[in-house]
């Protein structure tokens, strides 16, 4: 197919929008930790722009999207961007240069790796995180992306995931849970020492950038600059709005309408609508968003009473938001919106919901168990956790030799 300049412009802008989500996530996470760990937390996201940005063009894209090997993983045809050029792919986003599709996908891989770092803040060795992340991208992300988007077995089964409910959010959430279990709780967590967010305005700025970038994430996943992108855009904003507002009310019923709760709700709503955005009528963003806030709120409440220190609630937010969103896709999807999709439960097709469940279980189980194995491997070689003294000092000084808010006088 010839290159369409409108589509190309939209995909390149969308890639840039999704890129901005990773610094946005760095702010979102960075504001929630104590001040001695803010740089370390932000570096966990920023470093992935470097690490995954390189691995993706070297081999990550190929293993995810090159022609299929038994439905399990992509081949080696696109290694080092071989056969990925200015001409469109014949399979993916056929109206934009293949390179544009490739770099758009790179931004998804980067933020997915950055997402699970919310579970390991305040206590993971930076080197161990990098080693684990490289392994995780190679052995968890690329197969899962291939199964769902690269023509692998889940795609063939008919699992719908418009922009990454399975590949990004469930994948990152389940891995975060596994990592939190491997690392154990932060010092002081079990004793319920206060670990106050050191900068909530920073969290809100990060959430704002995430919301902004999410339009590239979801509407960009239409791969065309037309009606479907517009539909996904509206669905995305509607779900984010519904979830933010619902969470605000929940926190108000409990005590006060909190800023931290409202932006948390927004992010969970946006995560939940991700798999559905281009398959549902945009107004269905409302039930998806409200459902996401309820699921996320009670998941977080449950987690906060447990002894599992998924420190920034990656599983409760992205994992549970993603699971709800993937199932909701099987409920609310409509072929009238997207002929490439399917009808969901409310349009009489209960089978789609079962397919969605299969996707949740397969990927959730794979990333949880895979993360336990890879994490154990890194723990046995490099060691995952910093020393007690390093943890007390904070990771900014102990891992990076920097402090965030230094200096007296001017």
């Amino acid at each position: 197919m010839p290159i369409n300049s409108g589509d190309t412009a939209w995909i390149l802008v969308s890639a840039a929008l999704v890129m901005l989500m990773t610094p946005g996530l760095a702010l979102f996470y960075g504001g929630m930790v104590r001040r001695k760990n803010v740089l370390s937390t932000m570096m966990m996201s920023f470093a992935m722009l470097g690490l995954v940005g390189l691995l993706w063009v070297l081999y990550g894209y190929s293993l995810s999207f090159a022609p299929d090997m038994s439905g399990i993983i992509g081949g080696f045809d696109f290694m080092g961007l071989r056969n990925v050029g200015q001409e469109p792919s014949s399979v993916y986003a056929t109206t934009v240069p293949h390179l544009a599709f490739m770099i758009y996908q790179a931004m998804f891989a980067i933020i997915t790796v950055a997402l699970f770092t919310g579970a390991v803040v305040d206590r993971i060795k930076f080197g161990a995180l990098l080693a684990f992340s490289a392994l995780w991208l190679t052995f968890i992300y690329t197969p899962v992306a291939h199964w769902v988007w690269g023509g692998g077995w889940l795609a063939k089964l008919g699992v719908l995931d418009f922009a990454g409910g399975v590949v990004v959010h469930i994948n990152a959430g389940m891995s975060a849970l596994a990592l939190a279990l491997l690392l154990g709780p932060r010092k002081g967590f079990v004793e319920k020492e206060p670990m106050e967010a050191h900068d909530i305005p920073m969290v809100m700025l990060g959430a704002g950038l995430l919301w902004f970038g999410w339009f590239g994430f979801n509407a960009g996943s239409a791969f065309t600059a037309g009606g479907l992108a517009s539909s996904a855009f509206v669905a995305t904003n509607t779900a984010g709005a519904a979830a933010a507002f619902t969470w605000m009310l929940l926190s108000w019923i409990y005590r006060r309408p909190t800023a931290l709760g409202t932006v948390t709700g927004a992010v969970i709503g946006l995560a939940a609508v991700t798999p559905a955005a281009g398959f549902i009528s945009p107004i269905m963003g409302i039930p998806i968003g409200i459902g996401a806030a309820l699921v996320g709120y009670y998941a977080m409440l449950f987690r906060s009473k447990s002894r599992v220190d998924d420190s920034l609630d990656v599983m409760a937010a992205h994992g549970m938001g993603g699971i709800w969103g993937v199932l909701a896709t099987g409920i609310f999807a409509s072929v009238a919106v997207n002929a490439a999709g399917a009808d969901g439960l409310i349009f009489g097709n209960g089978a789609q919901l079962l397919k969605q469940m299969a996707g949740v279980v397969a990927v959730g189980g794979f990333s949880f168990i895979g993360t336990l194995i890879l994490g154990k491997l890194v723990d046995a070689t490099i060691g995952l956790r910093v020393t007690r003294t390093e943890e007390n000092l904070g990771l900014d000084i102990s891992q990076h030799g920097e402090r965030a808010y230094g200096g007296l006088g001017r």
Partner: protein, 125 residues
Amino acid sequence: MKKIEAIIREERLEPVKQALEAGGYFAMTVTEVSGRGEQRGLTLPWRVGEYRVDLLPKLKLEIVVQDKEVDTIVKAIIDNARTGEIGDGKIFIIPVENAIRVRTNEDGDKAINKVTNNKEEAKTK
């Protein structure tokens, strides 16, 4: 010469400051501090649930004055910092050996003159 060190509620700084200024006591050092006492702590909402904050923000005023002025200043602070609720703070009075004004090298009482005198000096210059 005495240092009056007063821990007060953040929101009482303005009235205390104005009362002291009206009495001619302009100079002070104010620091944001955290601490605890009978008020114990409070809980703040987190994303869900809440967490306990057991050190509360207060302000610390430090004022160095001549011995004979201590009672007046303590009264002004108490009158304006008190709400009657737990958590109003405390005042400590500490002997000071000397004070030296960095600009002029003056020491003793001259270094801690009430501001009204300084203003008059400033006018005559």
